[in-house]
Symmetry: D2
Amino acid sequence: MLAVRLEQHGRIPVVAEVPEPVLQSDDVIVAVEGAGVCRTDLHAIHGELADVFPTPMPFTLGHEVAGIVVQKGSAARGVDLGTKVVLHPLMTCGLCRACRRGEDQHCAEGQFVGLAVDGGMAQFVRTNARALVPLASTTDTREVAPLADAGITAYHALRREVPQLSAESVAVILCCGGLGHLGIQMLRAMSDCIIVAVDPKEAARDLAKSVGADHVAGDDVAEVVAEASRGAGAAAVFDFVGEGDAPALSVSLLGAKGLYSAVGYGGISSIPTMELVLKELRVQGNMVGTYQDLAELIALYERGLLQSHVVSYPLAEAHRAFDDLEKGLVRGRAVLVP
Amino acid sequence: MLAVRLEQHGRIPVVAEVPEPVLQSDDVIVAVEGAGVCRTDLHAIHGELADVFPTPMPFTLGHEVAGIVVQKGSAARGVDLGTKVVLHPLMTCGLCRACRRGEDQHCAEGQFVGLAVDGGMAQFVRTNARALVPLASTTDTREVAPLADAGITAYHALRREVPQLSAESVAVILCCGGLGHLGIQMLRAMSDCIIVAVDPKEAARDLAKSVGADHVAGDDVAEVVAEASRGAGAAAVFDFVGEGDAPALSVSLLGAKGLYSAVGYGGISSIPTMELVLKELRVQGNMVGTYQDLAELIALYERGLLQSHVVSYPLAEAHRAFDDLEKGLVRGRAVLVP
Amino acid sequence: MLAVRLEQHGRIPVVAEVPEPVLQSDDVIVAVEGAGVCRTDLHAIHGELADVFPTPMPFTLGHEVAGIVVQKGSAARGVDLGTKVVLHPLMTCGLCRACRRGEDQHCAEGQFVGLAVDGGMAQFVRTNARALVPLASTTDTREVAPLADAGITAYHALRREVPQLSAESVAVILCCGGLGHLGIQMLRAMSDCIIVAVDPKEAARDLAKSVGADHVAGDDVAEVVAEASRGAGAAAVFDFVGEGDAPALSVSLLGAKGLYSAVGYGGISSIPTMELVLKELRVQGNMVGTYQDLAELIALYERGLLQSHVVSYPLAEAHRAFDDLEKGLVRGRAVLVP
Amino acid sequence: MLAVRLEQHGRIPVVAEVPEPVLQSDDVIVAVEGAGVCRTDLHAIHGELADVFPTPMPFTLGHEVAGIVVQKGSAARGVDLGTKVVLHPLMTCGLCRACRRGEDQHCAEGQFVGLAVDGGMAQFVRTNARALVPLASTTDTREVAPLADAGITAYHALRREVPQLSAESVAVILCCGGLGHLGIQMLRAMSDCIIVAVDPKEAARDLAKSVGADHVAGDDVAEVVAEASRGAGAAAVFDFVGEGDAPALSVSLLGAKGLYSAVGYGGISSIPTMELVLKELRVQGNMVGTYQDLAELIALYERGLLQSHVVSYPLAEAHRAFDDLEKGLVRGRAVLVP
């Protein structure tokens, strides 16, 4: 079958012919219908994740996957062949303490599909029964694929903070790209807070406005937040960038008891302890999410509360998708279609 | 001035000429522009609150009040004459432990305006500075008045449960009258849960649908909840009735870990401990709300997320408003206008 | 092997020779070293659980079990033969939504060992890998067995409320028997609240005092709670009885925002909605607990913070244990030893 | 009267004769019996707080104060002359939104006694009625004084995390000095978690052990935490230092979902966003605490669950106390006695 293979750090992945995945006891094989292209793929390509995922190359990328279950192992309970599914990106054990608490993303034996083992930028992908979230038969798998990582991560971060937000709170979403445009809609559906969406690009700000942001801002974000919050400062900043100036900018916007929620990564969060203390600031890291998060997010999507803007690329033109993402040319989210 | 006076339990209140309220040290006098008529007024008229509020009669009813601050005492800090305000229904001390925790409704020395002391169905009402929530200059005081008790109570009950609700959860709102139609909109703004609104009257169900309910139901509520929840049962039932069959019906709709939230009152909540235990059910009583609740609710309203359907009655025709409410003829909420 | 069999409702179970359990794919066989005798066994014997567990008779009782793993199926991951374990009382699927959230006690396919399938009042018991909580090699299995149901249920109920309790809060524990004496110690270890233990028997009150209760009470409980709380009322009552007068007595002790936590069952919790509303009372049912609860409880025990008072009975004399429990003659907890 | 006056940054404060404080409307005058000496006093002396509190010099230091109410203004409600009290360190307005939520430490008009206005290292101090927490007549005011800031800050930080800690969790307390020895006892009373106390000095470690730490550590803290947590890492680190290597050391000890709780301050908390994300770390700043926190802490102390080790110095020898604190010679907490 065809697959997008990372052969060497720093080199664009290639589309190559590889053997189809082989089934094991409680595994399933999914025929891929859509595989999202994510900033994390760029981090992987650039070698920035080499310490976290020291995966022998070449391997197949793709951790945002939706498709149809076409094979299942003898020990794969609760799965029907032919079911349309989206994949939680980790294969989890179900027995470690994190799994027993429902914290799939911290599974002691979790294998990140598309980063630690072969992923879904291919015609078929292997995962296990625990990773499958069933979809309605009418759901578009290409639109849903990006929810498996971009979507779930934003949802996980936003959902966690919903209890703290009210109609008086200003929540800032930093960057209205692939994650951002999804995050704005989720937050709009889950909270009556005042949403301020920040992006240097006007087109991104327009998209943000059209999907539910109350205010948009560019360089004037400090003023916009001050006005929207009547001087109180932001209750929460969701940083979907995590690099460059983003962490420092985020913290500068916070009012008393404010939250800096790190979703994007790459940079440094650096805060004087005196500032932490005086404002009683909070910082929260977010990684992927739980199975329950993904199931809730799919329910939200299937109820029509979330539009996923995707741009499809044939699997064979994966290099073009990586390139567009790198250059910031993707409006919404890129999805590879085998 | 004119005021609506309860003279005797079981008798319709009369509109009478009474002296204007007299200012004390940290008090304020508010010129009333709207005073909501509430089911609690009927409970008071019928003498059902005589134990809770053994108030010497006659006294002036009216605990849902909005208007303009026209006088203030020497010790009334943070208040400007001419400010448009809605009144938290309790005059609170600010020093007892409940007040220090922000739980105004449990103030050890709280005085319920319109039930324990003279209220706002009058041209002027006396309260204290702590009760005032400022309004935008463009806000319609008649629409806002019912938020002071009906609104805040629904908000308090719903807001508390928001952290537990997701796009997969079914939340039932029992009765789509004065509280119900407000509650549906609040929940819609604050949560992506599936809202099932229940009312025996078709007109009420139509109103419910138009303000955000996902499903409406009458006698068929058990089926509607079962289908909407895919057999899991309701995650929460907000009982705005609290009398007759409502508590038992509510509990029968709940799934595992479900919440019965009592807002209306008058009847008995009776649950076998075995049912409590097997499903790990929860019950929560709700009374009014905090000052913070009211401020958040006003923010929600002023951002345009809540339409308050009111029917105005001249103060002099208060008897007609009580009569219509008793007979279930008020669509939305009745407000007396001096 | 020998096993304690329930043959007919209303009749004392008999000790009979039965075949040893047979292993299936992900199952394990545990050689029983101790099986607790619980009030729930009496409910089962009396037929009060016939609707909940319509188990064909005869079957083997015993849902509080500790012992040694002696066989494991081919699909039983993460288990070593020879490990000393205590059994979570349910065999859970690990795939349903409740399991995915870590709420084992609500597993859609959960099988309650000793109530729905053959239990541990026998020489051997069959369960699955997910039910096993490993013990330190020095831990006494007889002392630990009652933690599997009595202990976990008390822990689950108490742990959930710990965030609400402070050094000013009065928490009442109703009945200082098998559950009660464990509950007092757990609460003492987890909270600085003021513990009032209630029991009609002086010996039970003495035990309560010796294991950490700040105050004990019998008929004078209303006065004791009023004094200990400086008139505020109880913050929480944990009702380990759940029958007769206990639910009503519990609710009568509560102050504003107080919790009635139902652990024992059999009676009716009946509360006027006006009382629910005025005090904003809470009710919470509790059933068993999660795997995580049991693991935390074992950690608490193994750190020496919990003494489990047990009285051992040979398996062959099970009838005597049931009889003593029924008559209230067991001080602490009865355990059958094969 | 005599008072300890800060006359110039960088110079040791002097004991000088100053006029007694003058009463205003809702103020009270307290005859000081004990005033704690705090690391924050050193920060103030060194000018590190000049931006936060640009207080005109000279002014009287002292923000940890206990004594007897000797005068009260006409508008000071709920206060009896002769009452023994400890002072919440802020004079708060009771009307701003933070006060209305019970978050006294964020009062929009809060005045920090001893930092922004004249404090309690004097014979008399002026504060307002809202600051007073009444004490039992038998309580030793010198022992209680340090609870007003050191105590409340530790309590606030620890109490907030109690819901997340269980018998399996390792909580690290960094530095067993004035705050640390109090914090260990509080955490011991409120939680069954595993407490690891860290201090470079053996005497401090011995004190830690004697007041409830399960383990103590110096340079070997990484190993001690790894062993106590069975490799999982710390669930929380409470950093009572906040300077130098402490923030980085703290973060390095954390396991998945771990909390870095900043109490001490002065340094920088610097965390790569990738580490934040991969472990889903949390950071929380803490400043003082609420009135409710102080009331709960006093209840904890008056129930005998907290020993406050104090070393008394005559007010006139304040310089010696500052000197000893600077040199790390105070075992427990220094208190000035007028």
